[in-house]
Amino acid sequence: MSTYTSTTADDLQAMLAEIGVGSLQEIFDRQVPAGVRLGRPLDLPAGMPEQDVYTHLRDLAARNVSAEDEVSFLGGGMYDHYVPALIDMLMSRSEFLTPYTPYQPEISQGGLQVMFEYQTAISELTALPVSNASVYEGPSALAAAGYLAKLANGKSRFVVSGGVHPHSIETLSTMAAGYGMQVEVVPLRDGVTDPEAWTQAMGDDTSAALFQNPNFLGAVEDAEALAAAAEGVVVASYDPIVLGILKPPGECGVDVCVGEGQPLGNRLDFGGPSFGFFAASEAYLRRMPGRIAGETRDVDGRRGFVLTLQTREQHIRREKATSNICTAQALNALGGVVYLSWLGRRGIVELGELLLQRTHYARERLCGLDGVEALHDQPVIREFAVKLQAPVRAVKERCAAQGVNPGVALVDENALLVALTEQRSRADIDRLVEVVGAAVAAERSAVPA
């Protein structure tokens, strides 16, 4: 393939003449010390014909296995829910396809109305009065909630439940190191945040207490008890799908609720893009990242929409911004609000109940197998972990050969994290049980105890 070159030889000569240099090489000779120069061409493969590049990339792409090519029980933060055609139809409309920051936002009334409807839906789901118009994804939403706490109370330590998704803890820790925070992780006990360790970890220097519900192992945490025992800003990360059947965080003493929005109308797409949601009690309105769209009336009394809060964003406030989320995930959030509207108030409850039933059925059946037991006995909604009496990676490989992906391997615990969506039927679960049972049995007979 030829490189696309927009500079002609004449352009180059004109530019060199302008700065008084004879050749391009002379610039490098003058600016880069001889000792750090390579002195030979980079060892890269030769160029390929376009047709060969296409074939090569196609071969690479063919090695990916999508959730539609196998019976997948993968979860661990992103879930294979059905995405109705309605969502693609609306998301692909040209009016919505550019989610870039509107610098004259009021000219895009439709875009602002979507943000407003989205915020309303998130606010109702979480029972918190304020929602922003979305952030990048779940982990950065949790990190942003930590920063909000730091701005609000200036304290020096985050207390994080070990049940928070490892990626979120990592993101929070990375960001927190930048502003000199300590991050203390409270271990799980019997699958949930150890209540005594949680209480003991709290102190006068606690800026925020952060937990996840359901937690990374699928267990439902006692949100009210965790919130009551916490110091500082109470932050919880929720799977939005369970909010139809769990008591909403806003009624459990949670100050800031964040989460990964992918389960709402966004496909897995190899990990993104998706969106994160961010809702808070009114006390933290001014510390929230991102923007908030609001409803108003124009001079003629007609309903209209404006950007009500964006004054803390970087394009308005430069180096003093409290948020650098300028390109919101507006298009993905649109998918989220369309999904919620499509489900409706009854639908999200019914979906939650369906997941509850199938998850319990799957857990019971799997735990009935020889060599498989529950990692914890806590209540679960859509995901659970089982411990295997055979190496988890080998079991996964055997299952994969049968077209079943039995879940995320938790290597440290030699466990499987198994997730359910409405796309996994009872027959799929029976197949999972059959394949996992055979794989565990085969591994156990292959490796003498």
């Binding site: 001014r286 004054t311 803390r312 308005i316 406030r317 003093k320």
Partner: protein
């Protein structure tokens, strides 16, 4: 909104702040020019009582429909009172910047700093 005014009994800081000195304490606020430039003020984020303030350094924020701006302290000292009425009525900063729209009261640590502030005539001559 009130008409432009710059009372003669106040001292002014070039960053458009005013100070009214009463013995060892002073009341601070922003000038008519500042509130006019900001536009409709929607939120005042006050400092904590007891926190120190330094001359020429930001000590609070005002948020208008256009932007969030720092408020610069005309003198040094310690915050002894903040105008809590602004939490529910920040528009007082626009309507009455020298009266109901005062921001904080400060116990002064160096009253001689008043000598570096501007009088009404000097401050208004700098406004374009």
């Amino acid at each position: 909104m009130a008409d432009a005014s710059y009372p003669e009994d106040l001292l002014y800081h070039p960053e458009h702040d005013w100070a009214k000195i009463d013995g060892a304490t002073a009341t601070f606020g922003i000038t008519w020019f500042a509130q006019d430039a900001l536009g409709e003020v929607v939120f005042f984020d006050p400092p904590e009582v007891g926190s120190p303030v330094s001359k020429d350094e930001p000590y609070a924020e005002v948020e208008s429909v256009k932007a969030v701006s720092d408020v610069i302290s005309p003198m040094s000292g310690e915050i002894v009172e903040v105008n809590t009425a602004l939490a529910d009525g920040p528009e007082a900063i626009n309507e009455d910047p020298y009266g109901e729209g005062w921001l904080v009261k400060v116990k002064l640590s160096d009253p001689s700093e008043r000598d570096s502030l501007l009088d009404q005539a000097t401050y208004t001559s700098q406004l374009s």
